[in-house]
Each structure stands twice: as C-alpha cells, then as structure tokens.
C-alpha cells in the first residue's frame, strides 16, 4: 500500500527512524544512503526555515549546535504544512529540554520572544484605535465596555531579559552583551505590531496586571476599580502605545 510506504519513507526522512523501508533497489549504494539524500535536503530546508524564525538563537549557539537542535525538533515536531513561515512553535520547549544547552539558561526565553515577534509580524495589518473612541462612549456605557487588545498582541512573562539579549545579539553589540546580566531579572513583555513594525515593550507589574485584565476581557469598570489611582494613566498609555485594537461598547 502506498500510504504505508509513504509513512515509512517519511519517518526516515524526518529522522524518526534509521530503518529504510523494504522494496528499494540496493545496488551497492544502499537504500538508507539513497534516502539520506532526501533527509539531508529536508533538514537543510527546515533548519533554514527555523534559522529565519530564530536568528538570535542561531547566533548565540552557532550553526552546528543550532542544526543539532533543529534536527531534534524536526524529528519530534515535523511541520504539518508547506507554509514554513509558521513552523517553529514549540522549538523553545525543545531547546529547554536539551541538556547541552543548560549552560545558556536564557536560550529558551530568547526563542520564545523570537517566536512571538514572528507571529506578530505575520499578522494582517490592523490600525489601532485612538482614545477618542473611548471618549465617544456614552458615560453610562463606559463601565461595561471592553477594550480588545490589538489582534497581533502576545504577552510574555520570561525568566530572563530576552528583549535586551535579542537586541544586543542581532546588533552585534558585544559591549551591550558584555554589560548585561542575562540572569538579572524576569521580564514582562508586550509584543505586537504597529505601523507594520514589531514592538517589544517591557511592562511593570501594574501595567502587566492591567493589560492582562484587558486580554482576559474584563470590563473597563472592573479594570479601573482594580487599578485605582493609576487607572487613567494606564488606560491612556495603552491607547498611546497603539495596543488597543477595538472597543466593544456593549460589553458583550
């Protein structure tokens, strides 16, 4: 059956088995040697796709280590589509599980940030709304309104300052890399698209709680009550930063 043969060949090509299927002519160049050409070609294409998604990770560990990590990921989580722009979800977790990467404890967080940036960049453009939309609400409706974060928004809570690390690595800024303490602090990041660029903003604890509330669909009244005196400032800051995508005046 062709379907079974294709499953077996596919497993070999993706590195999930070393056993070549039966039924391939062997004339001294063995079936495994011949199938290895396809494995090499597939790994090269998929590793290149991952390196495009995770350029800072590749620079931090070098091409050889990156290729090893990529091969593990390809075998365990092969792509489900030829749309390779969307390939790499879960790569950070694979990196976190690689023993040899333990000496670079921030590597998985760098991968998480790069993945979030790639997803935000791929989003269809959406104009953020201005604070005028809020002012236009009838006062009695405002407490029940819900603000929706920009559709491209990803919120990340990381153990390591991956934003500073990525910037320094991609800028080849050795001085900045030497200065930073990668273990210094956890960071809370808002990653989103604005004017067709990806923005990575650090949020403090109060702003993080506020934005989390927005992402969970809390009403404006509830958010303002929780934020207290800082509510007006926090609210205005989200509009100014272009993080609000739409306003649901009915509170539905």
């Amino acid at each position: 059956m062709l379907s079974e043969l294709q499953r077996q060949i596919g497993d070999f090509v993706l590195g999930r088995t070393e056993l070549a299927p039966a039924g391939i002519r062997d004339d001294g160049i063995t079936p495994a040697m011949r199938l290895a050409i396809h494995r090499h070609s597939a790994r090269t294409a998929l590793t290149k796709a991952l390196a495009t998604q995770f350029p800072a990770v590749e620079r931090l560990v070098g091409a050889g280590f990156f290729a090893m990590a990529a091969a593990r990921f390809i075998a365990s989580e092969p792509p489900n589509s030829p749309r390779l722009l969307a390939y790499g979800e879960g790569f950070a977790d694979t990196i976190a599980g690689i023993e040899e990467a333990a000496s670079v404890p921030y590597l998985a967080d760098v991968a998480r940030l790069e993945w979030a940036c790639g997803r935000a960049a791929g989003f269809e453009y959406q104009q953020p709304i201005s604070i005028d939309a809020l002012a236009a609400l009838a006062p009695e409706h405002a407490p029940l309104a819900r603000l929706r974060l920009h559709a491209s928004m990803r919120l990340l809570e990381l153990d390591h300052p991956a934003d500073t690390i990525v910037n320094a690595v991609l800028a080849d800024d050795d001085d900045a890399l030497a200065r930073l303490d990668p273990l210094a602090c956890p960071v809370r990041l808002a990653v989103y698209q604005r004017a067709q660029r990806v923005i990575v903003s650090r949020l403090d604890a109060a702003e993080w709680a506020f934005v989390q509330g927005l992402s969970q669909g809390q009403t404006l009244g509830s958010l303002v009550a929780q934020a207290g005196d800082t509510a007006a400032l926090l609210l205005a800051a989200q509009f100014t930063a272009g993080r609000i995508g739409e306003i649901d005046a009915d509170g539905g």
């Binding site: 062709l2 596919g10 039924g23 002519r25 011949r34 589509s81 269809e124």
Partner: protein, 274 residues
C-alpha cells in the same frame, strides 16, 4: 505563454527586478515561499504588474496516498486568483504523509496504484484552480522494486488520463538517468511531445561515495553543466522552443549572472540527435 528564457525569482533579487523589469523575460516562483508573507506578497504584486509570472509548486504533494491538503490547495487557489500566473506546475512526487510535511520532493513507485492516486490529485487540483496544470518529472535517487513502468510511461498516462500538460526538466532527466544508469536521450524520446508545455534547466552536484560510485544530486546550486545543455538542445529539437526556465536556488549569484546564463539558453541551437 511567456516567451524567452525566464529565471527563478529569489527574495534577494526583488529590488533589482523591480528596478529593471525589462531585463527579465519572465519569472517563476514557488508559491509556498510567499503564502502568508504579506510584505513579500506586496512586492510580488508589484513585480507581477510588469513581468509574466509562473507558479512552480513544491508543496501540493500530488503523489500523496492521503490526497491533497484542502487548506494548502485553497491558499494556492487564492494566489492563482490574485496573480493569474501564466503557467502553473507541480511535481510527480509527494511531500506529505498523514499530517506531516517532509520539505522535499519524495519518489513514487511507478505502479498503477500510484498512477491512480496521481490522477485523482491532479484532477482535483485542476478542478479547484480551474486551470490545466503542468506536472514535472522529478529528480530521483532510488528505484522501487515494485515499479511496473518507466517514468515517461507514467507521465504519458497521467497526461492522457487527466488532460494535464508536462514540464520537462532536462536537468532532472540527466540526474535521474545517471543515478539509475538510463539513457537520457531515450527518456526524452519517450515523452509525449504534444503534452510538453515548458522546459526547466538547471545545475546539479555529484556526491561521490569514495569507491567509484556516485549519485547526482539536484541541488540547483550552479549553472547547467554541459550534459544538461546537450539534452536541452535535443529537447528544443523535439519539442520546439517552449517557455524555458533557469532554476538556481542555492549559492544564488547576482541577478546579472542569472540573466546571462538565461540568455545563453536563448542562443542554444536545436540538436537533432535521433
């Protein structure tokens, strides 16, 4: 139909092509490289305004026993509607099994079962795209004991049963025939001339195993070597000066080098070898 010799389009050449579109006869893209990439699709739309464009798919997996992925076919149909490519081609190969994509064009046993599957998938593709597609002969590195026909016989039956056209990749013929000790000219002669609608040329590598044995690898990493040019001369003698496309996907040179190699194809003379 595009005329002249086109080139495979690379992201790195977008700006140069846009700067001087008249220098390029036509371009071919792999749609999979663009699906979902809004920025590059915008660039591509600008290129398409000035230059004829063909699509050469590498992700449809026409040979998959499990059929074609609805989502990918839908994505492709959207691009076809938007860009109206002058030619649409895919490969007599497969790259998907179950829910896994394998990122390479993998070989089919040349059996009635595989032919039936290819026919079903080609028909479905042509219905969805509302276009006749071209199916390209792949480079192969292995043979299946179960195969019951030659590759030209397989492709001839496919074209007859589905009405599809064929893309004759002369580089792939040179590669496959060297790997399986077949005569490339005999392969060319066995193709149905009336069904051939496009020709690909390109370069390949040779991997030696240290004991005198070697395999040719279709890496598209260099200019066509002499034996590919010789077979191209025979191909244009047999099929006429069909739209021809230069593939160069690795170690891609500057645009002017690609255009110079493409121009040299324009100057080749038909060679009647049989």
């Amino acid at each position: 139909m595009p005329s002249g010799v086109g080139i495979g389009l690379h992201f790195a050449h977008h700006a140069a092509v846009l700067a001087d579109p008249a220098a390029v006869a036509w371009v071919e893209i792999h749609p999979e490289n663009y699906i979902g990439d809004r920025r590059r699709l915008r660039e591509l739309a600008r290129i398409r305004r000035d230059i004829p464009m063909s699509f050469d798919g590498v992700g449809l997996s026409l040979g998959s026993a499990g059929g074609i992925c609805d989502r990918h076919l839908g994505d492709l149909a959207e691009l076809v509607d938007q860009f109206e490519p002058v030619l649409i081609s895919e490969h007599a190969a497969w790259c998907r099994s179950g829910n896994r994509f394998h990122a390479d064009l993998l070989p089919l046993p040349l059996t009635e079962e595989a032919l039936d599957i290819m026919c079903r998938n080609v028909e479905r593709t042509q219905e969805r795209l509302r276009r006749t597609i071209l199916v390209e002969n792949p480079s192969t590195y292995l043979e299946f004991i179960a195969s019951k026909m030659s590759e030209p016989e397989f492709l001839t039956s496919l074209a007859r049963r589905t009405g599809c056209k064929l893309l004759c990749d002369v580089n792939n013929i040179v590669v496959s025939c060297a790997n399986h000790r077949l005569d490339p000219l005999a392969y060319l002669q066995a193709l149905p001339a009336g069904a051939i609608a496009e020709i690909h040329i390109g370069g390949h590598a040779i991997e030696s195993f240290g004991d005198g044995r070697s395999l040719r690898i279709d890496d598209h990493g260099s200019a066509p070597p002499d034996d590919v040019w010789a077979l191209y001369d025979a191909a244009i003698a047999r099929f006429g000066r069909l739209p021809t496309l230069l593939e160069w996907d690795n170690a891609v040179p500057a645009l002017d080098v690609l255009l110079a190699v493409a121009a040299s194809a324009t100057n080749r003379a038909p060679a009647h070898v049989v």
